[in-house]
Symmetry: C2
Subunit: 355 residues, 2 copies
DNA sequence: TTGTACGCGTTATCAA
DNA sequence: TTGATAACGCGTACAA
């Protein structure tokens, strides 16, 4: 066993302070009792030697790591990085440390990351599950005693708490706004991979957040007597190229679309860019609404109407719930819905066909 | 000692497979030798019981964690989150895991986070140091055998490798562009806290990246015979309010400023917004350049000229260097400079005073 | 108030 | 090819 670094241990400190290992451990660990004099000499010896407690050994001994694992879809997405900030700040304040991992919105990688974190013996997990139908790894974690809180997404039969936005309500709110302004041909654009880019059934959408929004979208459409609203949903919006393709499709469609809903701010930005490049003016030629209050939505002309998702709060709430679980609260798992209000800005106006 | 979760251990697997602990450990750990038959029965027992190796115990035994610690200024800043992505991807590919922490650009918190990571026994550290003059914690880490690579910033006497942008060169390039276009009254806006918001000496800037840019900025100004260029540097740009104040100051200054350099993309976005709100037109009334190719710079009208910092590459490079250190390469620590080219877009044009 | 001795789950050494 | 057994650094009954 070739130890690489030989860091200072309690034994070293004990020796230097002429006390037993146990005594040194007690004052350094801040538990048990010790006389003022020995306490002083131990502490003196400790920072003379530059003692740094070994958190690994401590965890082995106590059985708890004080670590919480977080698996997000993409840390580069401000949606998630802000949530991570909320998680970190709140966890830190509670004396917990945070380990972050990316799933890249890929189920295999999500499973892999969860496994890594479990082997690291995290006390609990916060995960934004990539696919509703593929959550056995999360169920296993829960069964093995590691509480899980889902972030931004809700998986009913998982048995975990979930913190999500009010997706159906937000979609309804946006649609009301658009319908009142005379819009009827409205498209919903998402990154979700749909067969052929088109939606055949709601259950094809494996992420509850998106599914609920689309459900709200379609409910509203049906309410106005539009039957084929499923054809107004476009999937596969994953990069500039695919989004250019979708925009081209929408612009040349026999349905003369007057408004677009972007399922997240990355898609929103690409749509904005694509429309600008094609000389489409907002809101005159087209209205645009994006989920998430991203920086870019405030500097465009006109600024872009958004659904405000307070993801810092999402994260904060998720941690609080997780901590409650860690403390042994045995209430049934449930869904915590955080309101995500629609904020109208300049990118939405009256439909050109009526206004 | 109340163990909370009693996970399956090698001992359990060994018992189930009717072999000794040592044998089970060998096949599960993938080291040593074992006959094909025992290997099979051990593996069968392992995944029948759902064995998950305890990484903590493994680390205790081997003395290495396979963890690398990262301390960034703010994970919410796309500059850093992209770097973190570069770090994660590269580290993961090398079989290392990543623990991320925020310093909030505050020295105390940076020290605290480094300490936390060290206690976690990370194999190495990647840090964006908040203050050049306050790096004893990093020196201590290095001395104790944990290699450090600084990110985006270079601290000469630290004895650590550093991955940075070509800050002086980029500033020079931008300034050439602006000077050629007739600009002379150019302001540099940074978040760095300067006494009274004004710069008295370059050494007041505790972050090499900013210092080098300002140095390039002032060199170029001096080159045109402008002596008091230090007064063109404005500090304390930390939020909307302070930036509004700075913009107001610049617009009413007796120097009729025609161009502004934003030290990062958060500042850039706020400046853009502040200028727009005041009816200042780009580039007619004012030219603007921002560091970092943030999303928002591409959707404004006109799009904003930037200095492109490939921070994914920064992160990737930092990890590679760190791994080289972990493998024991004993070359002297040095600075790795990554080019950060100026990309002219619509926000920079001829100075109104000459054009 | 202090010290002894064992356990946590692994790896690694050395005999068998 | 296997199995006992001692580390690793810390917490913690229990005894002194």
């Amino acid at each position: 066993m070739n130890r690489k670094k030989n860091s200072i241990t309690v034994a070293d400190v004990a020796r230097a302070a002429n006390v037993s290992k146990a005594t040194a451990a007690r004052v350094l660990g801040g538990y048990g009792v010790a006389s003022e004099s020995t306490r002083r000499s131990v502490i003196e010896a400790a920072d003379r030697l530059g003692y740094q407690p070994n958190e690994l050994a401590r965890s082995m001994s106590t059985g708890r790591t004080g670590l919480i694992g977080v698996v997000v879809g993409d840390i580069e997405n401000a949606f998630f990085s802000r949530a991570v900030r909320g998680i970190s700040d709140t966890a830190r304040a509670a004396g917990l440390n945070v380990v972050i991992a990316n799933s890249g919105e890929r189920p295999e990688q999500e499973r892999e990351m969860v496994s890594v974190l479990l082997r690291q013996r995290v006390a609990g997990l916060i995960v934004a599950p990539t696919d509703d139908r593929d959550v056995r790894h999360l169920k296993d974690a829960i069964k093995a005693g590691t509480p899980v809180v889902t972030l931004d997404r809700w998986v009913p039969d998982l048995g975990a708490d979930g913190v999500c936005g009010g997706d159906h309500a937000a979609a309804t709110e946006v649609m009301e706004h658009l319908l009142v302004n005379g819009h009827r041909r409205i498209a919903y654009v998402t990154a979700v991979d749909l067969t052929d880019g088109r939606l055949s059934d709601l259950s094809d959408i494996p992420i509850s957040a998106v599914r609920e929004r689309v459900r709200g979208f379609m409910d509203a459409m049906h309410g106005t007597g539009i039957a084929n609203s499923a054809t107004f949903v476009r999937g596969g919006a994953v990069d500039s190229r695919s989004i250019d393709g979708i925009i081209d499709g929408l612009l040349t469609d026999e349905q003369r679309f007057t408004a677009i809903l972007a399922s997240d701010s990355l898609i929103g930005a690409e749509i904005y860019r694509s429309l600008s490049a094609r000389g489409i003016r907002l809101p005159k030629d087209m209205s645009l609404v994006s989920w998430f209050d991203a920086d870019w939505t405030r500097v465009t002309s006109p600024p872009v109407s958004i659904i405000d998702q307070p993801t810092y709060l999402f994260g904060q709430t998720a941690v609080k719930r997780l901590i409650a679980r860690l403390e042994g609260q045995a209430i049934p798992p449930d869904q915590i819905v955080i309101p995500t209000p629609f904020i109208a800005r300049g990118s939405t106006g009256k439909s050109r066909t009526t206004g």
